[in-house]
Point group: C2
Chain length 563, copies 2
């Protein structure tokens, strides 16, 4: 752009890369140029190092000049060069001259059909570029051999008592997926596969690397099934090509930085939407995003790494191709990931944490919960005998933890209050059934969220997304959502949720403020909650970490008593 | 990445660009390296063509090996090289050795303070990098000299009767802005300034171009104030730097492709949010986006160029720094643009069409309307005597046109129906006042949109954004929004709005379906509207353009009669 590289410099550079450049310039006559080029091509095919540098003026063979201004080889050739053929006789004459320069009498017969001698040169059937099955990837797509994810389950005897790192658990299963599918599954990532705690896959494969490998390098090989480059654009482009040609893949990325490919995602989503309506296009494997290192756990990186808005971006696209999952723990993540790798022609977004976190569901229950996509957690609720006084809804691993901790406080301190805990894995269940294929019918939605009780909803991302998904629901006027409201910094995990009023103490306050009558009789507890927030705030600043009462909190079985 | 370029090849390449490379390698001793580098620097300063190629191992001067594994010069130096200094005596020893290698006794006095001889080397005051006023751009920011935009107004004697191209009108004013501010205002764009019909600015300036200028080139000069490159990333980055150093700018872009910089916008928005709270940081000029060639007029480019979602992305960021304007015509665009170029420390998003379109407001009314940000259009309404039966709300140039055409049909065909037309310029007026500084108080909102009447809202972008902004409003349950629902293709302008049910005929149907009692008595009109859609659909396919009854429609003064 700023300077053209002289031919000898370019040649020297290309030789440095191991190529032997062959410079080619087009000429005035395009048929003669074609003959010369064919000869060059024959030479080039004999030399594996040959690289043809093809130089052609923009608008080559078009009109040299129009209305006295140069066109061929200039920026003017970017537009329609002869724009007034209907009204300008000279333009029409130039158009005819241009078209005749292709010598149509040599190409077409008297009826205007391409001559058989030329038509016969074109490949036929699957040898045509457009007929190659790899251009219609669904034709050559094979199901993945998926190992039984149940074998990788975290044992959960009592909910909320053991910890695990969700993505590290997933990696055990992914490792077997890689092993069982050595030719049609790849993992892509912007140099974050280990940071996202998926590095177990390096037990069975490597990062693909075609250049020199130094003694100090680890897990690099030309045969690697993990494709890493610190360019989200490259990862997305490679994965799209891999899917379009009939293979399967997973893109793992820091949540905040997946916005880098917003625009590329748009185009792939548009492609999926349009091709769903083209009968001969066969469905592809879904494009699977695993977003980890998410907004709530950027303890060291801070505000620049905190952004849960990719979900908002994605759900603007057509409902029939978009799926969004926020598994609350490792077993749910396994179930969701298995589902996504089996699915076709969707974009699946999975948001899952990598930090040690409490586990809630044994595998059998996780499968039921993820298949439903949303459900009441009986063991955390005390409203089994009738209608709840309040619904605590949650979606995402950190909001689920805070909601359970809030439920525990409410059940211990206000035991007469009937609390229902509802967890959402499949975000699209919230939408009306007319808006999304996963949308719950209104009566099912109401049976979970009630038609008249306060709902305090703790959500992983921007809170208004929950309103946008539920504004037509019966009980929407009673829905109060907490989530990320763009308050972030480098701080402790609990300070981060407090900054956004998503913490357990604030959720308890939200309940007190919204359940009719409670504000009159729970004044003491409300003040205790405010004080607990102030103490947690001060502790984090004094110690640089969260107070043990928060960081070591476990679901208290003693609170799980009959009301 | 794939191959390291040998030194002689790199040297040859750099010489091709006019540079003389000076290769420099760090050594074992960093103080000695510093001396050698200073000498090299002296030589380089004598030669304007000199370019130093500085080669240093990653983690240079850190521990060579830790736990028997190489660190310096390897990927391991990307992490904390000695992670267990608290518990591992050998790590602690290595840390001490490393720190002592800097010879602290030569650098600090007995009290641990930096020696005066060294401290004195550092520049003082504004010569410090962090103290340079250009790093706190607000300190050196000067107001733009803005010509009176009223002089550039389109004469509008009767609303909806004359046409103009909004961005082309704006360009007349921008031309004077460029002329009056030759040193601190620039226009940035991904090679779309002319396509967005701002090319009038080339009467007074050029595109900045520092390389060779060919005889065929136009409007290129090293002194140009327009910065173009077909890379939205580069445009965004340049503009951010220009603003951060105390200047003003405007980024013009095709609406769909501004998503390319979603992630960069995020970081700038976070920076604005944080620096608002830092007392010594002075406010910058706002980052102004002018999005044209928008979703509704991609007649030739089609689905890939249709995406109004940048607004959704932007409004997730903190309310105090985000402003979104959708001026309905050229005079409103002038008023809005003047306001944005005067504003500080915001991100302003302006969406405006470039195609010939009906003009609605004379300049005086445009200024009032844009200053209010939202308003009833009396001349289009017939409810002056009392409460309307229906509110037709609109936001964006194309939705405004369709809404007025629907209002004309309703007023002609159902003259007893009281119709109120409300136009929204400043999208943030819709939010509750607690959520956004521009948010209307509830009683003002209700006085525009009523507290109980059906509202049919025609919006430029994804319809659910309007719900997300208004879900707490009194009358939200009666709000019915039409907008872009991801149905697009290459087609005529009217076919495009029909694909998304945003057309005048469908808006009339929406009114008939929602105003109580109307569905019983307006059956004929409803069917006529369905037939009109079918006819317009067929006409577009037969003629490749819209029927004259649509494309030549004007606001009919004869319908503007007392009800």
């Amino acid at each position: 752009m700023l300077a053209r590289i002289p031919e000898e410099e370019l040649a020297s550079l290309l030789r440095g890369y191991g190529y032997e450049p062959l410079f080619f310039d087009t000429g005035d006559d395009h048929l003669d140029t074609h003959r010369r080029f064919t000869e060059l091509l024959d030479r080039a095919l004999d030399d594996r190092r040959a690289m043809i540098v093809f130089r052609s003026p923009k608008g080559w063979t078009g009109p040299r000049e129009v209305d006295g201004l140069p066109v061929e080889g200039t920026w003017r050739a970017h537009q329609v060069p002869l724009a007034q053929v209907r009204t300008n006789a000279e333009h029409l004459r130039q158009l005819e001259e241009w078209m005749r320069s292709y010598r149509p009498e040599e190409l077409f017969d008297a009826d205007g059909a391409l001559k058989e001698t030329l038509a016969g040169l074109a490949p036929r059937g699957e040898r045509r570029m457009s007929g190659n099955p790899k251009t219609n990837g669904g034709l050559v797509l094979r199901d993945l051999e998926l190992p039984d994810f149940r074998r990788f389950a975290v044992p959960v005897d009592e909910p909320g008592t053991v910890t695990a790192e969700a993505t590290r658990v997933l990696a055990q299963w992914l490792t077997q997926v890689v092993r069982s599918n050595p030719e049609n599954f790849r993992i892509f990532g912007p140099d974050e596969t280990a940071s996202n705690r998926l590095d177990a896959v390096y037990e069975v494969t490597d990062k693909q690397w075609d250049a020199r490998i130094e003694p100090v390098d680890e897990h690099l090989a030309p045969t690697g099934r993990v494709v890493e480059m610190l360019s989200e654009h490259q990862c997305q482009g490679w994965l799209e090509g891999y899917l379009l040609t009939g293979r399967h893949g997973l893109f793992n990325c820091y949540e905040a930085f997946i916005h880098i490919v917003d625009s590329m995602f748009n185009q792939h989503a548009k492609w999926l939407k349009v091709t769903r309506g083209i009968p001969w296009r066969r469905p592809l494997a879904s494009l699977n995003y695993l977003l980890s290192s998410h907004v709530w756990r950027q303890d060291h990186n801070g505000f620049s790494h905190q952004d849960p808005g990719f979900i908002d971006h994605v759900v603007n696209k057509r409902a029939e191709i978009i799926r969004v999952y926020l598994p609350p723990d490792a077993n749910c993540l396994l179930s969701v990931a298995d589902h996504c790798l089996r699915s076709r022609h969707y974009v699946n977004v999975i948001v899952a944490g990598k930090q040690p976190a409490l586990q809630f569901l044994p595998m059998d229950e996780a499968i039921l919960h993820c298949t439903r996509g949303v459900g009441i957690w009986d063991w955390a609720s005390n409203d089994a005998s009738g209608e709840p006084d309040v619904v605590l809804a949650c979606c995402g691993d950190v909001p689920t933890l805070e909601t359970l901790a809030a439920a525990a406080i409410l059940r211990e301190r206000l035991p007469e209050l009937k609390v229902r805990v509802v967890n959402v894995v499949d975000l699209m269940r919230l939408q009306p059934e007319l808006e999304h294929p996963h949308g719950l019918p209104d009566h099912e939605f109401d049976s979970l969220f009630t038609s008249s009780r306060p709902v305090v909803f703790a959500y992983h991302g921007y809170p208004w997304l929950i309103h946008r998904l539920t504004y037509r629901r019966t009980n929407h006027a009673n829905l109060h959502v907490r989530g990320y409201k763009e308050e972030g910094t480098t701080t402790t995990p609990f300070d981060m949720v407090m900054l956004n009023d998503l913490d357990r103490y604030h959720l308890v306050i939200d309940v007190i403020d919204r359940v009719p009558g409670l504000v009159d009789r729970a004044g003491h507890l409300r003040q205790e909650m405010e004080d607990a927030r102030l103490r947690a705030h001060a502790y984090a600043r004094e110690h640089g970490e969260d107070a043990p009462e928060v960081s070591e909190w476990r679901w208290p079985p003693e609170a799980v008593v009959a009301p």
